[in-house]
């Protein structure tokens, strides 16, 4: 009997509970296994515990902000290789900021709020080829 395909695990960190719910619903409906949190510090802890295949991260959040969380993710050797998709309403400003900080590797992709579901799924599938067939 064939094994069911492995669902890539996605961690969502966004201070807006409704955005977390939306992303969890969309991703769980489309072949991913999504878990979310509205707290940046808890998001980091979940990342260390769950070791997700990809992280969707908001930028503008109460401390620790998305920028801080992103730097901590990239600074942790155990997490640094996990692809990060920035889901944000301030994409332009954040891009400018992160690209001027040479010490930090830029995020793997950006998705703007309000996001297009098809575009979001295409981005995640590009970063997680294992999910492409899901």
């Amino acid at each position: 009997m064939a094994q069911p395909p492995v669902r890539p695990r996605v961690l969502i960190i966004d201070d807006e509970q409704d955005v977390v719910t939306y992303l969890e619903s969309v991703l769980n409906d489309n072949g991913f296994e999504a878990t979310g949190t509205t707290d940046g510090a808890e998001g980091l802890a979940l990342a260390r515990r769950l070791r997700p295949d990809l992280i969707c991260l908001d930028v503008v959040m109460p401390p620790p902000t998305g920028v801080r969380v992103y730097r901590d993710l990239r600074g942790d050797p155990a997490l640094a290789a996990i692809p990060v998709v920035m889901v944000t309403g301030v994409q332009k400003e954040f891009k400018g900021f992160i690209h001027h900080r040479k010490l930090v590797r830029p995020p793997d992709a950006y998705v703007s709020k309000p996001f297009d579901v098809a575009e979001l799924l295409a981005t995640l599938r590009r970063l997680l080829p294992a999910a492409a067939s899901a």
């Binding site: 807006e16 409704d18 719910t21 939306y22 309403g89």
Partner: protein, 494 residues
């Protein structure tokens, strides 16, 4: 005392004491007498010739005034420059007068010199100051005609040529309405006001004019000095700074608004997605979850729009007279249960002395205190498991009524403090519109008060709203909008 044969005895005292030097020479220019003031400058001098003593010359000076007076018997007055016996420059005003013998001939000449050295030096210093001071200086007469102007004035506005100051400064045909020079002519005092003028090149100039009386006479000053400090560059920089701040505020507001709206739109789209997929699958739990998301985000948009309207509308406060302690207690009652549920103690400190009724916008004050206590509660929730306390205080000191909300929560770091009164800045993420403290500040300013805060990271924050009673709004006329029933102490506007 001298014994002058040519002076009446009763005048020898004057000769000795007069505060100018007097020397008497005969026709050979030999000094036959001098007063102590002369001796103080030139030494004893008796028996010497005046040209030897004062100029070191062997013979009479060219154009010697004494020689002319010996010749024609006329009095004369002239300014002379020379050097004293120590070689220092001396400036004198010289009066030369003939002394006649019994036969009526000029036998001697009296030379009276007033030392103007100090006066001359002061004049030169004044002239240097007048010319070199880095502001426009003009002296005007009662007709406001410029009789003297310094170098900077002449360079920017041209030679005065008797023109009136308003014509030179502003190219006006009539005097200025708020002319400080005219006020100085009227009361002899010093006056200052800010003006806009036009340079000779037609450029706008900004200057601060101070006027002071010169040459006071019986009927007031005959002249006034106008000193104008050029503020043109400063004014331009002020304008540029204001414009930059305005643009930054607009940009920040638009960016903040866009970010908030994007999040709400995402929430709405999420609600639609979850609701529609729930309906398709016949999953009532999921449908209900999506519907709640829709309701919540519509509510947030509604709240944001209301806050924006409240912030932007020009409507003033609607004052009524009420007991401020009552409002504090209402806010305590509103929040104490929810605070307790989160392990936060909300206390009211009524202070040592009761605070009497105030005339303010009651609803506005209530909103402000609600906002401050809500923020304090959030700060306590973020601060962690340690017991947290919020103290509300009402006190009055020196006619100023102060409302304080102090929490022992997480406090604010430098960056957060800088943004506290910035539109759309919130540490609460989805929980705040970022307009609460802006609305509070607007309310406080409308009531002539001030809002201040102290905050230490990890130790807590205290916000203070202080209202000097004399700056509170007036109670509207009885029966007018917002009028209050003093019996019940509440506004009729409900």
């Amino acid at each position: 005392m001298s014994s002058c044969p040519w002076l009446p005895a009763d005048r020898t005292l004057l000769f000795d004491e007069i505060p100018c030097s007097i020397v008497v020479v005969d026709r050979s220019y030999t000094i036959v007498d001098r007063n102590p003031a002369f001796a103080a400058i030139w030494g004893d001098g008796l028996g010497a010739t005046c040209h030897e003593l004062t100029r070191g010359r062997p013979g009479p000076c060219s154009g010697c005034p004494a020689e002319k007076t010996f010749r024609d018997g006329e009095r004369r007055v002239l300014a002379q420059n020379g050097r004293d016996r120590h070689g220092k420059p001396v400036h004198t005003l010289v009066h030369v007068a003939p002394v006649h013998d019994a036969g009526g001939s000029v036998s001697h000449v009296a030379i009276m010199s007033t030392d103007l050295t100090v006066t001359r030096r002061l004049q030169e210093e004044y002239q240097t100051l007048f010319e070199q001071v880095p502001c426009f200086v003009a002296v005007v007469d009662r007709d406001l005609r410029v009789v003297k102007a310094n170098r900077l004035f002449r360079r920017v506005f041209g030679e005065p040529d008797g023109e009136r100051c308003y014509a030179l400064f502003k190219h006006r045909q009539e005097k200025c309405d708020d002319c400080p020079a005219e006020r100085t002519f009227g009361d002899g005092g010093t006056h200052t006001s800010r003006h806009v003028g036009v340079s000779r090149a037609g450029e706008e100039t900004h200057y601060l004019v101070s006027t002071a009386a010169l040459q006071p006479g019986d009927d007031g000053p005959t002249h006034v000095i106008e000193m104008a400090l050029d503020l043109t560059d400063l004014t331009r920089l002020e304008r540029e700074k204001l414009e930059a701040e305005r643009l930054a505020a607009v940009g920040q507001t638009v960016a903040g608004l866009a970010h908030g709206v994007k999040n709400m739109l995402t929430g709405l789209e999420g609600g639609m997605y979850v609701t529609s997929t729930g309906l398709k699958r016949g999953d009532p739990k999921r449908t209900s979850q999506g519907w709640e998301m829709l309701e919540r985000n519509i509510g947030r948009i509604s709240s944001l729009v209301k806050s924006l309207l409240a912030f932007s509308r020009g409507e003033g406060p609607r004052p009524s007279r009420f007991d401020p302690g009552e409002v504090v207690r209402e806010i305590h009652d509103l929040f104490c249960q929810s605070a307790a549920r989160h392990g936060v103690e909300l206390r009211v400190d009524a202070g040592a002395a009761p605070v009497g009724p105030v005339v303010m916008d009651r609803d506005g004050l209530r909103s402000c205190l609600e906002n401050l206590v809500s923020n304090a509660l959030d700060a306590c929730l973020v601060s962690g498991p340690a017991p947290c306390v919020i103290d509300m205080r009402l006190l009055e000191r020196d006619g100023t009524v102060t409302f304080e909300v102090a929490d022992s929560g997480c406090g604010m770091d430098y960056d957060v403090k800088q943004k506290v009164f910035t539109s759309f800045f919130s540490t609460k993420g989805a929980g705040g519109t970022g307009l609460g403290l802006l609305l509070t500040r607007k309310f406080v300013q409308q009531h002539g008060g001030t809002i201040t805060f102290d905050s230490t990271p990890g130790r807590g924050t205290t916000f203070r709203l202080s209202f000097p009673r004399q700056r509170l709004p007036e109670l509207p006329p009885e029966g007018g909008p917002g009028a209050t029933d003093p019996e019940c102490g509440s506004s009729r506007r409900q």
